[in-house]
């Protein structure tokens, strides 16, 4: 069967199944299990009301439990076994991993990514948000800077591979160097700095996100505070740094952490740009290099990533509990 047909069929079955489930389960609940008949009408309506939320929630709970909760446990257990999964080796995978150069490089590079990408994206996002705030063509400018967000990491990597190409007739960086009489370089092979050339792609893509959120936050600042500052003789820079920034600090933090999480998950860019060569490996791409080869090691790396995000996860849950 061709995949298109299969896809159409899946949509029909999937959507029909979902709608059918919700519709029929409600009918079954109201008419057959707890029918509101004369003698126990009130009690049965109350019972049905108590059960109904779980009907609505069931598919979501099943899917979430299976695809996100179970794997946390499943991955951890798997990481305690050896490559073929038949021998329990405790923390052997972790011990082995931390003693290897490749893993330490990936960990260090990931550290660089987490420092640089959110900082640079938030900085540029804030810069553009502020600069375009009162600009007549601001929305066009923002939309163009936001555009890379729609592009896949693979597509973006290809776009930047073209920029970094060594041939001065192809790569614009080497074309500029060539114009000034400098020798061609391969940005992806310069030790240490190649990491930053790869990170630039992520910054290029995430700046738009930071910009959109921060731009809305800047718009939300009460006019009076700015007017008061102007009357007091503050210059534009003072207004920006002393009045605006403190009022959107919370939003900056949210943007920063969101990009940080994304940075911890993205393997596509490194995979496409360098394949992890030239010491550019990061944890997600390091994990993928073990996927299909050594499940024990792969799950151990995944669990290390999980451990890194856990503190923020706990913080998020606490915040959510507080709001309820």
């Amino acid at each position: 069967m061709s995949p298109i047909l299969q896809g159409i069929l899946t949509i029909i079955i999937g959507v029909g199944g979902c709608v059918g489930y919700f519709y029929l389960s409600n009918i079954v609940l109201d008419r057959f299990i707890f029918p509101p008949r004369k003698d126990d009408q009130g009690r049965n309506i109350a019972r049905a009301t108590a059960v109904r939320p779980w009907l609505f929630l069931m598919p979501a709970i099943l899917a979430l439990g299976l695809y996100l909760v179970y794997p946390v446990l499943g991955s951890f257990l798997r990481s305690l076994y050896n490559r073929s999964g038949n021998e329990f080796i405790g923390l052997g995978n972790y011990v082995q991993m931390f003693s290897e150069h490749g893993f330490r490089v990936a960990l260090f590079n990931n550290f660089l990514w987490v420092l640089f990408v959110p900082a640079a994206s938030t900085f540029f996002g804030l810069l553009v948000a502020q600069l375009t705030d009162r600009l007549r063509w601001g929305s066009i400018a923002k939309s163009l800077i936001f555009m890379p967000m729609a592009i896949s990491f693979v597509g973006a990597s290809l776009i930047w591979k073209f920029v970094y190409a060594v041939d001065p007739n192809i790569g614009i960086i080497n074309a500029v160097r060539d114009y000034f009489g400098l020798a061609a370089i391969d940005p992806l092979q310069i030790p240490f700095w190649n990491n930053f050339f790869v990170m630039i792609i992520m910054v290029w893509m995430q700046t738009g996100f930071a910009m959109v959120i921060l731009s809305a936050a800047l718009r939300g600042i009460p006019e009076e505070t700015i007017e008061a500052a102007i009357i007091d003789g503050a210059n534009p820079f003072q207004i920006f740094f002393r009045i605006k920034i403190p009022q959107i600090a919370g939003t900056i933090a949210v943007v920063w952490t969101t990009i940080t999480f994304l940075t911890l998950k993205v393997f596509d860019i490194v995979y496409t740009m360098t394949g992890g060569n030239f010491d550019t490996e990061i944890l997600p791409s390091y994990m993928m290099s073990y996927m299909f080869r050594d499940d024990g090691r792969a799950t151990a790396v995944a669990f290390v990533i999980m451990l890194i995000v856990t503190p923020v996860m706990i913080y998020n849950i606490r915040q959510a509990r507080k709001e309820l």
Partner: protein, 418 residues
Amino acid sequence: MDNIAGHKSSLSLVTNLAVLFLVVVWLIPTVGLLVSSFRDREQISETGWWAAMFPVESAVRTRPEPEGVRQDGDYYVLEGNVFEAGSGSVSGFGLTGRDPGAADVGETFAWYEVEVTEEDGELDDKRIEIAYPADGEPEFPEATEDGLPITPGSAVLQRSLTVAENGDFAYINDGEISRAPSLYVVTKQPPDFGWQNYRQILTSDGMDRAFINTLTVTVPATVIPILIAAFAAYALAWMDFPGRGWLVAAVVGLLVVPLQLALVPMLTLHNKIGIGQSFLGIWLAHTGFGLPLAVYLLRNYMMGLPRDIIESAKVDGATDFQVFTKIVLPLSFPALASFAIFQFLWTWNDLLVAKVFLPSNSESWVMTVKIADDLLGSRGGDWGILAAAAFVSIAVPLVVFFAMQKYLVRGLLAGSVK
């Protein structure tokens, strides 16, 4: 206030320029690849995309068939046109690949054998190359490039080539012309834009198949989680039951669980229950991975719906199911659209989940896998093809992005600003 007003106007110019600069920097990479995707492959390697609007000079070797050779005294003459396709513009030509543009059009380029006097006084034969106006006579130098004196009047023509701008050439050789001679011409080709790269990847390189696969993955993986999430979000927003708070907190927590954790256990499970690596597997996986954001976004939005509408409907005897389908769902359209765009972009652009949950044979490659695992390796230097492939894969997301930007922005704001 005056100085502030003054500041503003000078600052506004700086602001405009700074934004313009940033926009240009942000666009250059994409524009470069877009322009290249329409260029001829030969031209891409000759000049940068920034020079794409100018004619490209490139040296080509032609080997005209030795047909219609006529004898002229001791020499053999071959005449014809260097352009097989018929038209073009020659700017230079030569007889060796080392110097393919040795002579300009309107000149004759010739090899002569001359007699030279070596440093030790011996006489020797040497070949010299000269270019001279086609309607004139060659002027022989007094010495070779090495500084050896040439005996006047000793020059004997070996071969010569004359090429006109339109490509007509005359090739003269001192021996019989039995094999095709190698002639070099530098041609000025007009900028060559077209759909040829796109045509190639979509017909012979299998990108069409990958496109369909991507579409097949994306649509169910976008539609199904919305449905499931909408019901769950309604329950979490408007129904009262014990444990609701904990469920909401769990959803918030699951938002940040790294996808990587699920890969090994879920693939193992899929294999165990017989789904294996398949489209069904990836639909289920995308549904699971997309749900936390979907539930979170939709619940936040539904919480903001006016309470009186929902309560008065309930007072009028509407069941929760009716309230949901008749009131909440239509009112939540903006949030549904926001999430649909997110999930669509995410699944369309995904590489990781596709690599793990889809079979690794080429019939099941989605576009990202096709580009990253196949084209970048096998067509590494062929930028025209790579660029076209990239744009085939990002065209749909870009259209969706620009058409539905309003909803995307709204969704982003709902998702991260509290």
